[in-house]
């Protein structure tokens, strides 16, 4: 009964954020890096709808480019984790054997690290940059995808239709790609949606800690971290970027719920 409302609210919020991100590629009200020393730490005024930061940069423009950074990082990271994780999960779950055992031992060890912690460690190695973050978060969240996909594949390979496909003399690669993979789609789709939210949150947390996409590029996380010293004099600097992270996550959670309701009407 919530499904439709979830879809509507999640869809509206998501489109607003996505629209801002795409618009930022071609137009922003001001340059996100242009400094305006006279209007430093200014509240909302005409010309600076969301006010300015400690260098007098326009916050609305930085929010818009930050939206693109967050969404593109999250999209590429989820694509990375889902593709690698599904491939490994499918192969290990379908073929089993010693390779599966070793892979799962390693996977369990990786799962003993909370995702963001592993990302923190990897960022420390490859250094904070946009693509560094994508690789770090991608590697950090792949083990979760592997576990879910492998679990689904393990139950699917016992099903009659897989046995039937084998009995018909189909090769194992054909059976795997034609019958097992399409049937694992629902759990992968639900996982990918949650993953998208986790990655947005993790990326902004890393940026907040100073280990994300480095300045002067704007991300919601590094805007929040720059706002901390000005909490009492320029509250809008912290209210606005964090509010956008929360709205984006809310939209993803609502869309995720709608997707789950649609794929699993039992709930």
């Amino acid at each position: 009964m919530f499904a439709r409302l979830n879809l509507i609210f999640g869809g509206i919020l998501g489109s607003v954020v996505l629209g801002m991100a795409l618009l930022a590629l071609v137009w922003t009200p001001a340059s996100p890096v242009a400094i305006d020393p006279i209007n430093r730490l200014s509240g909302p005024i005409p010309g600076h709808l969301f006010g300015t930061d400690e260098f007098g940069r326009d916050i609305l423009s930085r929010i818009m480019t930050g939206a693109w950074t967050s969404l593109s990082v999250a999209f590429l990271t989820v694509a990375f984790a889902v593709i690698c994780g599904s491939a490994i999960g499918l192969l290990t779950g379908f073929y089993r054997g010693w390779f599966d055992r070793i892979a799962m031992l390693l996977n369990d060890a990786l799962l003993a690290f909370p995702g963001i912690l592993l990302a923190l460690g990897i960022v420390a190695i490859i250094g904070p940059s946009k693509y560094g973050i994508i690789i770090a978060l991608g590697i950090a969240y792949t083990p979760k995808v592997i576990r879910i996909v492998r679990g689904t594949v393990l139950s699917l390979r016992q099903k009659e239709f897989v046995e039937a496909s084998r009995a018909l003399g189909n090769g194992s690669v054909f059976t795997m790609l034609r019958h097992v993979l399409p049937n694992s789609f629902a759990p992968i789709a639900v996982l990918a949606t949650s993953l998208f939210g986790w990655v947005i949150l993790a990326e902004s947390a890393l940026s907040f800690l100073g280990l994300g996409v480095p300045p002067p590029a704007a991300t919601w996380g590094n805007m929040l971290s720059a706002a901390r010293p000005h909490l009492s004099t320029a509250p809008w600097m912290s209210i606005i970027p964090g509010g956008f992270i929360a709205l984006t996550l809310l939209s993803i959670n609502l869309l995720g719920d709608a997707l789950r309701d649609w794929l699993d009407p039992r709930m």
């Binding site: 690290f113 912690l117 460690g121 190695i125 929040l224 901390r228 809310l250």
Partner: protein
């Protein structure tokens, strides 16, 4: 029970060994020479070699690993490159603060979420249910570091009720220490209540649909005893698994909350030692967090049968 415990503990050993290996490799891969950090960029080759010898960094990597592992087994995690303090004591000290915050927050959140989630499930589809689910979804969508900043702005700056920066330990002044912990704990409670309420609600909905609930109602039991005797225990078991996951995730994600509230916890120690390339401390923190995660999962596995007797320990 004892047999299961031993088996489960033995199963945790290869995982922990691999965790140790991963931590060791991860930290060796961090670019930057600790000797140069210690001495400054202008250091001559002889002093660099001397430092590397002293820290054992001139040995081949596998040798370094086994020396390190041997020391870890003896409770020796090395000394901080920066301050020379023993890492184990440092990490343990910081861990206690982080663990206190996390346990207080998750404990309180569970006490709130279980009745609220069951109530929402019981009234599934009503306006009340809708409001509670909407609030829970909102709660879990708010990033902890932003909520922390907002609470700090309200209670610390606008109202001036609570301190804004710094920390006083329990040993120094217990009542003052509590004032520093109120906001970080409250921040985590507000978020985790959302996560846990949704989980309790959906597992309670599953349980309410089962035949033994219909049977209990048909028997003429009051709604109160149906909910408390039948629905609560059965929907708590899946929630227990989630509590384990939440504890582990918070252990990894506590760094941002500690940064907002300038608390000297494990997460901040980790981030600071990544900045200063203090290898042994980074290793110690990662090892502590991963071990904590494995231990939490172990405890959850052991507790599970008490809440769901269908699961046996064998």
């Amino acid at each position: 029970m004892a047999q299961f415990l031993v088996k489960r503990l033995l199963m945790a050993i290869p995982t922990l060994l691999l965790v140790a290996l991963l931590v060791f490799m991860l930290v060796r891969l961090i670019p930057g020479d600790p000797a140069l950090i210690l001495l400054g960029d202008g250091a001559d080759a002889n002093s660099v070699a001397a430092i590397n010898r002293r820290l054992g960094l001139d040995q081949p990597l596998p040798v370094q690993f086994f020396i390190w592992l041997g020391n870890v087994f003896q409770g020796d995690l090395g000394n901080s490159i920066l301050t020379g303090d023993p890492v184990l004591a440092l990490v343990w000290d910081r861990f206690q603060l982080s663990a206190t915050i996390i346990l207080l927050a998750v404990g309180t959140a569970t006490l709130i979420a279980v009745p609220v989630g069951i109530f929402a499930a019981w009234r599934q589809g009503s306006g009340m249910d809708f409001t509670l689910v909407a609030l829970a979804t909102l709660g879990l969508s708010i990033p902890s570091f932003w909520l922390g900043l907002m609470l700090l702005m309200l209670f610390g700056i606008q109202l001036g009720w609570l301190p804004v920066v710094g920390y006083v330990s329990f040993g120094q002044d217990a009542s003052l220490a509590i004032t520093y912990l109120v906001l970080p704990v409250l921040t985590l409670i507000l978020i985790e209540v959302g996560v846990l309420t949704r989980m309790v609600r959906s597992s309670a909905i599953e349980v309410l649909r089962l035949e033994y609930v219909t049977h209990a109602r048909a028997k003429g039991l009051s709604e109160r005893s149906v909910l408390f005797r039948h629905v609560l225990p059965n929907s708590f078991a899946p929630t227990l698994t989630l509590i384990g996951i939440v504890l582990g995730t918070l252990l990894g994600g506590i760094a941002v909350v500690e940064t907002v509230f300038t608390l000297p916890g494990l997460g901040r120690l980790l981030v600071e030692s990544i900045y200063s390339r203090d290898y042994p401390v980074v290793q110690g923190c990662l090892l502590m967090i991963a071990t904590g995660y494995v231990v939490v999962n172990l405890i959850v596995d052991l507790l599970y049968p008490f809440f769901d007797p269908r699961v046996t320990l064998e």
